[in-house]
């Protein structure tokens, strides 16, 4: 019996994987994500659940909350869209051309990453206020930026730009020059080369950059509260509303909004990820 059992034992043991360390690294990943992300987020839902379904519904369908949520997501979406277009152009310039001051400009791109967002908010407000350098020029045209929704979009565009540039840059660098030259020898004009050859190649990276910029915009607080003016129902973003609720000791209300933001963000990011997977499969 034992002579038969021995090989069976050996067979039962899982075959060794070629890539070592699966067990420890997966364990670490789960632990790390749990401590840093999952448990705190679960806490949010746990707190919010204290309201009960009806209570939750009442908080979330209040006009002020609805307005804040739609403003946060809407502004972040528009800002991310703007960044996807112009960040793509910036990345293109950095990858394809040499010009004096390139390294300096390259460093400037990362500033929104490093700058305390409140500083950015104050600086932008000073610039775009009706008596600021840029605001002064826009006021005669009837365009108001500071203390309007437009101001929020400007702030979110500012902080989201590096996400697009830094994700598209390496991918664009890998699109071999050969491809553009091949398109040219086949008779394709510049426009066709860009739309049919280069854009499809960098589309997955653009979508990633868009998603990162969007996610950052949804959660942004510091830079927006200075330029937004924070009028309830008009320029009040959801993160600010959460802070206000906290200040009023309405912890459940605050977590209810937070939970709603989490769910919406999660669904949107999931959709974006699927889109990306689709774009990548085609690339």
């Amino acid at each position: 019996m034992s002579s038969i059992a021995a090989p069976a034992d050996a067979a039962r043991r899982a075959p060794k994987r070629a890539i070592p360390g699966f067990g420890p690294t997966l364990g670490f990943t789960v632990f790390y994500l749990s401590v840093l992300v999952l448990i705190p987020l679960a806490g949010v839902f746990f707190r919010a659940s204290g309201l009960g379904l009806e209570g939750l519904w009442n908080v979330l369908t209040g006009p002020r909350v609805l307005n804040a949520l739609s403003l946060s997501f809407g502004a972040a979406f528009i800002a991310a869209l703007i960044n996807a277009v112009f960040g793509g152009v910036v990345a293109w310039v950095f990858v394809r051309y040499e010009f004096p001051g390139k390294r300096l400009l390259d460093a400037v791109i990362d500033l929104p990453f490093a700058l305390p967002t409140a500083v950015a908010g104050i600086a932008l407000t000073a610039l775009y206020a009706p008596n600021g350098w840029i605001g002064e020029l826009l006021t005669p045209l009837g365009i108001k930026v500071a203390y309007t929704r437009l101001g929020i979009i400007v702030a979110l565009t500012f902080i989201g730009l590096p996400f697009v540039v830094r994700t598209v840059e390496p991918v664009l660098r890998e699109v071999e020059r050969d491809l553009e030259e091949a398109a040219a020898t086949l008779g394709a004009m510049r426009w066709h080369t860009i739309t049919r050859v280069i854009l499809p190649a960098v589309l997955p990276a653009l979508v990633t950059g868009f998603a990162l910029s969007f996610a950052r915009g949804v959660g942004e607080y510091g830079s927006v509260i200075f330029i937004a003016g924070n009028f309830p129902n008009v320029t009040e973003i959801a993160p600010l509303l959460i802070t206000i609720k906290l200040d009023e000791y309405d912890y459940r209300g605050a977590t209810a909004i937070a939970a709603a933001m989490l769910v919406i963000s999660f669904v949107l990011l999931l959709v974006i990820n699927l889109l990306q997977a689709w774009a990548r499969r085609r690339a």
């Binding site: 071999e176 050969d178 491809l179 030259e181 091949a182 398109a183 040219a184 020898t185 086949l186 008779g187 394709a188 004009m189 066709h192 049919r196 050859v197 499809p200 190649a201 085609r282 690339a283």
Partner: protein, 384 residues
């Protein structure tokens, strides 16, 4: 379409990549640009395609000045070394690309495009793979898609940059043969770049050997192989043995020999280098002019036998002989034999390459010859 290239120069910053290229390419010709990396062969190919703007010189397609045309207007079929296929398009869309991007009034209708794609797929023997993406193809298949895509626009000339460089040896051989056949069938003027002399000689009608931005020699494959004009060409088309020698009164002497191995008015007088390929040596009797050498190593591979010999200057000589039954003979290590280059080229010696050759030793048997003669000594050692 015949192509005329006149006085073409190209600089990259301080680097002079092309130094006055003049070349005539006949219509329907299959031409190889052969040279080491940095010789300017790819730059020249790209200049013909219009991918490298030229500061000086003219390139004519027939009677049309191509230098004035953009890349798009030149209508060249260019096949890139790494294929440069559009990864997000299917094989069929890749091939159709050049037709689909045409201005509306020049664009064939969808049915015509589809038919053309099908024809080309058949031509490059990829029928049935039209729905695949480049990532799903092997290297050789990608190469053929790239070729079909280039042919789709009915190019004036087909340009191929190291077309088989990224493929393994077996596929390369097959594709070469196939490309030769394709060229015969389609008749496109074709120029390809390679650093592989075997590839150039096997595939091309004519070979342009390039070095340091200049053309060293242009000729048929036989011409450049049998009559290399410069040491560089000889060196590049094989691994020659270089023997020091001297030419006096039109007679060619190997160093250490009193009998000329050849004579002719065309040989340059003075110190020379005699270039001979391993398979151009013959083992000869002691009374025939030649070079005495000691066998260091013998190695037989199938029908050939390769001898490594040591000659009196201390250098080694590699010779390659047919191993025929009739003259079956086994040379022993240490044995001294006399060899003679049957075919060789003679170039005036330049530089200090052989300045370390042994000083001429006085030799009683050849009074006043002044030619180094350590062979006797050598032979004596061989007998011991």
């Amino acid at each position: 379409m015949n192509i005329t290239i006149r006085d073409v120069h190209k600089h990259y910053g301080g680097f002079h990549a092309l130094r006055g290229i003049d070349l005539d390419i006949a219509s329907g010709e299959l031409l190889a640009l052969l040279g080491p990396s940095g010789s300017g062969k790819t730059t020249l190919l790209r200049a013909i395609a219009g991918l490298e703007p030229l500061a000086q010189g003219r390139i004519l397609f027939g009677d049309t000045d191509a230098t004035a045309l953009s890349v798009q207007q030149r209508k060249v079929g260019f096949v890139f070394q790494q294929y440069a296929l559009f990864k997000h398009m299917t094989v069929a869309d890749n091939i159709a690309f050049g037709l689909k991007v045409r201005a509306r009034k020049l664009r064939p209708n969808d049915a015509a495009i589809k038919q053309r794609v099908d024809e080309l797929l058949e031509l490059v023997q990829l029928d049935g793979l039209d729905r695949r993406y480049p990532a799903q193809l092997s290297g050789g298949q990608k190469q053929r898609v790239a070729l079909a895509r280039a042919l789709a626009i009915e190019p004036r000339v087909l340009l191929l940059d190291e077309p088989f460089g990224a493929l393994d040896a077996k596929v390369r051989k097959d594709l070469r043969r196939w490309l030769r056949k394709l060229h015969r069938e389609t008749g496109y003027t074709t120029i390809f770049v390679t650093h592989d002399q075997e590839e150039a000689l096997e595939l091309a009608d004519r070979v342009v050997v390039m070095n340091k931005g200049q053309i060293e020699q242009v000729g048929t494959t036989d011409e450049v192989y049998d009559f290399p004009k410069t040491p560089f060409v000889f060196d590049f088309l094989g691994t020659p043995n270089v023997l020091p020698g001297i030419v006096r009164d039109g007679r060619v002497y190997l160093d250490g020999s009193t009998q000329p191995i050849d004579s002719g008015a065309h040989y340059p007088s003075g110190l020379v280098d005699i270039y001979a390929r391993p398979n151009d040596f013959r083992v000869v009797d002691a009374n025939v002019p030649g070079l005495d050498a000691q066998v260091l190593e013998t190695q037989r591979t199938g029908q050939r036998i390769r001898l490594t010999l040591s000659i009196n200057s201390g250098e080694t000589l590699e010779i390659d002989l047919p191993h025929l039954d009739a003259e079956l003979k086994v040379w022993q290590t240490g044995e001294t034999i006399r060899v003679r280059p049957a075919n060789f080229s003679v170039f005036a010696r330049t530089g200090a390459k052989h300045s370390s050759a042994p000083d001429p030793l006085p030799d009683e048997s050849i009074p006043g010859s002044g030619i180094s003669h350590t062979v006797a000594e050598h032979r004596a050692r061989g007998r011991n």
